[in-house]
């Protein structure tokens, strides 16, 4: 590969040189190449904000103890992402009332998961819990070598660059999407969402007593059901379908002792949503 100098510009001779990134040809160039898994042994888990952190001690402490016990066994490397919860909703509510656009909501939405990640890290500190942010990704191998449990805020770093949707102003990419994309780019061993329900239901089980539990479903089937509510951000389903590495997620009730451990061992204890 060499430099190409002509009267107009200095170019580099690559197959991308003369084609538009927006062309079908550019898409073809990437096809067929194997995608590496960056950290294939790491399990990414997401601890819910509203569903877990906002429950305080009764929910969080047993989960912390379970994670600590796992760390002692040394069987699993974990990356813990944390959600926002009711304070995020409060900030969104105020911002919405003030007429703020999606970009500002996404920016404001970053702060609450940081608070929750700090709280969780303080609880996990004596077991090796460390707080990481988006810029510290390159250090992860070091942290695992040293037996750490990295805890990160779940919100992706999109900030003001979150795209407006067709309608409304709640950011499309929140902490579920952030944690799922973390797992996918790492090529993680699994991606587990720790919530306060057994998993996915046909409706919100907190509101609708007739909601039926769905133990296992494909993205296509789930989308075809066109449910009024969902246990994860809908955009996660789109990304699952396109993913190279993490082709399923499991949603579990983290309040049941041992559930997380079982899920990490590959057992099916909640709802599994998988790519077609």
């Amino acid at each position: 590969m060499s430099l190409i100098r002509d009267a107009d510009r200095t170019d580099i001779d690559t197959p991308f040189r003369e084609i538009s990134f927006s062309s079908a040809a550019a898409n073809k160039l990437g096809e067929g190449h194997e995608v590496i898994r960056i950290l294939p042994d790491v399990h990414v888990i997401k601890v819910g904000g509203q569903s877990f952190m906002d429950r305080g001690r009764s929910a969080v402490i047993p989960l912390v103890e379970e994670i600590a016990a796992l760390q002692v066994q040394g069987k699993h490397d974990l990356l813990v992402g944390v959600g926002g919860g009711t304070r995020a909703r409060h900030a969104y509510a105020i911002a919405l009332d003030l007429g703020m656009p999606t970009s500002v909501l996404a920016k404001v939405g970053q702060n609450v998961p940081v608070q929750n990640a700090r709280l969780l890290q303080l609880l996990l500190a004596k077991h090796g819990g460390i707080l990481i942010d988006h810029d510290m990704f390159g250090h992860l191998p070091l942290y695992y070598r040293m037996g750490c449990i990295p805890v990160m805020p779940g919100m992706p770093p999109f900030s003001f660059w979150e795209k407006p949707g067709p309608k409304g102003r709640i950011p499309t990419h929140r902490t579920d999407a952030g944690v799922y994309l973390t797992a996918e780019v790492m090529g993680a061993a699994s991606c587990i969402f720790v919530k306060d329900e057994k998993g996915l239901y046909t409706a919100n089980p907190k509101v609708d007593p007739n909601a039926t539990f769905i133990p296992r479903i494909s993205v296509k089937e789930l989308k075809a059901m066109n449910l009024p509510d969902l246990v994860v951000e809908p955009v996660v389903l789109d990304y699952l379908q396109r993913a190279h590495s993490v082709r399923e997620i499991q949603i579990i009730d983290g309040r049941v002792p041992g559930n997380l451990t079982k899920a990490l061992n590959g057992e099916h204890v909640g709802s599994i949503i998988y790519a077609d």
Partner: protein, 290 residues
Amino acid sequence: MTSKTWAGRQAETGGAEFAVGDGRTHLNTGLMGASLVRADLAEQTDVEHEVAMLPDCAVLAIGGRSIMDRGAKAVLPLVDAIVKAREDNAFVVGVSGGARLRHVYHIGIDLGIPAGGLAQAAGASEEQNVAMLQHLMARHGAVMLKRDHFDDAAMYLKNGLIPLVISVPPYHYWEPPPRAGRVPENGSDVGMFLTAEALGARCCIFIKDTDGLYSDDPHTNPDAEFIPRIGAQELIDRDLPSLPVDRMLVETLRNARFVRQIQLVNGLKPEQMIQALAGEPVGTIIYRED
């Protein structure tokens, strides 16, 4: 200010207080205990007018391959025009990565790096370009605006400076897997447009090396037909073989709140940029239809 207000506003539910009883401690707001994924939330949070941050600001997006890689011959006259235009206009300026970006994508794909890794590596090419532009324009008040420090932008613009912004959006490792192939879909063009949206800018001008949009790449196809004005959806439906801007930019434009059109001008004819800043219909305008 807004004729249609957010349907869940706090006044209707009382002040923000704690609510307990289901094992979780909630703050009582319009979104209390709510699932943020329920289907009706988009409708509920929609308003006619959102509040813009810096509505008098324009955004200038300079092509990497189309302008920067041409070196002094293309860049210096454009820089002169930008400095001149600053007398009558407030704007922020960004530039994309060009040939080096294409090269790092090529090598990265060959190595099996996932889209998020490519996106993380991509930014450095563009940072080199923006560093050079800042150097050229420093004496005229060009300053780097750190990533999302938009609060500084207000100060810089009030003081007649030229803030330079990072064009690539900060998706980094979190770049969503592309729908096809491996090249990240959210490049500099998307980033500059989203910067304009976040600022609530008055216009967003893309400065490349053609007079605007053609039915095919005019550098390789002499029969390509010029398109002076086209809707974003119409442009997507036409499915042209090549676009001078990221396809994702055109898709995102369909949901624009503030920047409801973008303008493509020829940076090799710097007067086009000045005309575009004055609101003249030079080059090509791509607009949100509804």
